[in-house]
């Protein structure tokens, strides 16, 4: 594993494109690692308290509406698919197609958010609050933190979509789309773990 040749003396010392691409990908993977540890803390707390109070978890979670959760799971999975299609499209140089796929991804993300809004509203209507029990504390913290990441992801994707629309990316250079896509996939993967743990426990 060795470095490729760095650029020669230049005013703004830009990196060789290959180095820049590899650096960006490595950087994003490292960042995703930190996100996994961040959520990992919450997953650890979940595991510890579920092991301690299995009946309480089973009883409490029944109040959650599985349909809200299931719909959201499909929405996110679909959005990951459209994001992957966006990356595939730009690698083929198809800018318009890329923008369309990314817009669909963003719409899915917004739909996820709106769905969540209705779900929380119903939860509050049923008097289910973070203070209700440790299960609900975890439910709100985990889905809340996840929701924040969805919004961050939507912001990133919106910026990238705009830049794609402006023609900044093509088949030779599309690192931000790929790297943004990685972030979005992580948001999806975290939800894939959250959903069964919160909604589907026996």
């Amino acid at each position: 594993m060795d470095s490729t040749v760095a650029s020669h003396a230049e005013e703004h010392h830009e990196l060789d494109p290959v180095v820049e691409y590899e650096s960006s990908k490595l950087g994003m993977w490292l960042f995703l690692g930190t996100e996994i540890l961040l959520f990992g803390g919450l997953f650890a707390a979940y595991a510890i308290y579920r092991a301690r109070y299995p009946e309480m978890f089973a009883e409490q979670h029944r109040e959650l509406d599985v349909w809200f959760g299931t719909i959201n799971t499909f929405i996110l999975l679909f959005s990951s698919f459209t994001m992957a299609m966006a990356v595939w499209s730009i690698q083929k140089g198809k800018q318009t197609r890329t923008v369309i796929f990314m817009l669909i991804t963003i719409i899915c993300g917004l739909a996820f958010g709106i769905n969540k809004y209705f779900e929380y509203a119903e939860d509050f209507h049923k008097h289910l609050y973070p203070q209700t029990s440790i299960f609900y504390a975890l439910y709100y913290l985990m889905t809340g933190l996840h929701m924040i990441h969805v919004f961050v992801g939507l912001t990133i994707l919106s910026v990238i979509t705009y830049l794609t629309h402006k023609g900044k990316f093509n088949e030779n250079y599309n690192t931000p789309i790929e790297v943004g896509g990685l972030y979005w996939h992580l948001v999806d993967v975290i939800w894939i773990y959250l959903f069964p743990l919160l909604y589907l426990i026996a």
Binding site: S3, E10, S23, L26, A45, L145
Partner: protein
């Protein structure tokens, strides 16, 4: 390949242009490192001043200088500022930023804009801390529950400030790892990397993996205070010890974030001032990683009397012994480097050698605390306070001061007064020992920590410790004045006053914006001192 424009800019140091805007928006790692250096040094002096107030209170057994509540606020601020605003981010962000690209033969870090962003995030964190001073917390820097949930002082702002700082740490660590992987000059293979780079890499892994955990821990604490979730409240089914587990899962690796960069500094200074290759390069390089990995598995040694099971205690005591081994290996290798060297005792070397002396004491006293039966009477006493300050001051801070003096000519293009530097070192060394060595005995005698007032039998040792703090304070003051005076009016520094073989010394002092006229091609490691010919072993 040469380039007319580049030749001209090579004579212009990175300090140009001098406009404030160019500094505020800079993406030059050398400037960012300098900004970090100024900020963290300011916090170091502030938190140190707070410590002097605490030691002044402890001259007498009674709470006669400040009230007990004020004392508790003081030690909380001292710890929080020192740990989160100085030592964890500090050495890595200041020295790491300045040195890493230079040492590996790159023009900058992998993500220069992100680097600037990291610094601004750090500043936001410090502003939140300043806001937190309006009703400062009195929980200690460890924020143990349930007290941190119940106290009427403001815990949320200070923990949120620390949370924000965590982002800065994570992004800096990420930047460094990618830089080291991807931006090394041709020929700079892994086995030729300077040991400071190896240690920066290990530190960055810890920053990346451990910091998110303290992030979530503090978020949980904030949620408990605001939303009353009861995670740590036994009345609601929660567990206050869970907080300790989460907290120390980060904070133990954090102490290695604090000290591993200092290890790297010592590994750079000693070969230069002994004119000998480092002894046991691979051992020192790999031991940093061994320490980093094992450090994730020892956290419960802070909790031996917290109510954990005997099995857990046994496992973590055993693992704690393991983490001591790679650390000891480094110390032996550094001393062996001196053998048959040509040793010159300028101020950087004085700091490096005294580091070895002091860190050995710190490390050995850590073994006491890792030994179960011995930890029982010593936990939460001044023995722990002494141990931690020997490793953090005797270790990290001495390493940091050594680095400041060593790379000073390169960073500032000037020389400081060497005689004054030696005097300051002497006062700091003596003052530090007089302050903290008696505290081992205070701890053995049973003096607990975080006590604003104490029974009279402990007074004599406390008095000695306080007098030591005055000597230490004076030494740091003289050192600071000397270093600042050098920047203002010191002699112009030569390019390589200590004849180092490392890449950062092959460029002007201070370096130009783009570091190198041409990216060098590396053909040997940086410790080739005394090498007569390629055939020599």
């Amino acid at each position: 390949m040469s380039n007319g424009a580049a030749t001209e800019t090579m004579n212009v140091s990175f300090y140009e242009p001098k406009s404030i805007l160019s500094w505020v928006l800079t993406t030059d790692h050398k400037r960012i490192g300098l900004m970090y250096l100024i900020t963290i040094s300011t916090f170091f002096l502030i938190a140190g001043g707070i410590a002097m107030l605490m030691r002044y209170e402890l001259l007498t057994p009674e709470s006669d200088f400040v009230s007990p509540h004020t004392y508790n606020v003081l030690f909380t601020l001292h710890g929080s500022i020192m740990v989160f605003f100085f030592i964890v981010p500090g050495v890595a962000a200041s020295l790491g930023n300045f040195l890493i690209p230079l040492m590996i033969g790159a023009r900058d870090v992998a993500f220069p804009k992100l680097n600037l962003g990291s610094y601004w995030i750090y500043l936001v964190g410090t502003i939140i801390l300043l806001a937190a001073l309006l009703q400062p917390a009195d929980t200690g820097w460890t924020f143990y529950t349930p007290y941190s949930v119940k106290t009427g002082t403001d815990v949320i702002l200070i923990t949120f400030g620390v949370f924000v700082l965590g982002f800065s740490s994570i992004l800096t660590g990420l930047n460094f790892i990618v830089t080291i992987h991807k931006l090394r000059a041709p020929g700079m293979t892994w086995d030729r990397l300077p040991l400071f780079i190896w240690s920066a890499y290990a530190t960055s892994i810890l920053q990346l993996l451990a910091t998110p955990v303290v992030g979530i821990t503090l978020l949980l604490l904030i949620a408990e205070r605001t939303l009353d979730i009861g995670f740590f409240d036994p009345a609601k089914g929660g567990d206050p010890i869970l907080f300790q587990n989460f907290f120390w899962f980060y904070s133990h690796p954090a102490v290695y974030i604090m000290v591993i960069p200092a290890f790297g500094i010592i590994s750079e200074i000693i070969p230069v001032f002994s004119r000998k290759p480092i002894f046991g390069y691979k051992a020192i390089a790999y031991s940093s990683f061994a320490i980093a990995i094992i450090s994730f598995f020892v956290w419960m040694h802070h909790m031996f009397v917290s109510g954990i099971s005997q099995t857990a205690a046994a496992i973590f005591s055993f693992l704690t012994m393991l983490v001591a081994i790679p650390t000891a290996i480094k110390v032996f290798n550094w001393v062996a480097t001196l053998y048959k060297g040509s040793i010159s005792l300028e101020s950087p070397m004085l700091y490096a050698l005294s580091f070895i002396f002091l860190f050995t004491i710190g490390g050995l006293t850590g073994v006491y605390l890792g030994t179960l039966a011995v930890d029982v009477p010593l936990h939460d006493t001044y023995f722990v306070v002494a141990h931690m300050h020997y490793v953090m001051i005797g270790g990290t801070v001495f390493g940091f001061f050594g680095a400041l003096h060593f790379w000073y000519p390169k960073w500032f293009g000037k020389m400081f007064n060497e005689a004054v530097a030696k005097l300051a070192w002497f006062l700091i060394f003596v003052g530090f020992n007089v302050t903290f060595f008696p505290q081992f005995f205070l701890g053995v005698e049973g003096m607990p920590r975080r006590y604003a007032s104490y029974p009279p039998q402990f007074q004599t040792l406390h008095e000695i410790s306080t007098y030591g703090s005055w000597i230490l304070g004076l030494g740091i003051f003289i050192m600071t004045v000397n270093l600042i005076a050098g920047v203002i009016g010191g002699k112009k520094a030569p390019q390589n006053p200590y004849n180092s073989l490392s890449l950062e010394w092959q460029v002007p002092s201070p370096p130009p914006h783009e570091n190198f006229h041409e990216i060098p091609t590396v053909t040997d490691w940086t410790y080739g001192y005394g090498k007569k010919s390629k055939t020599e072993a």
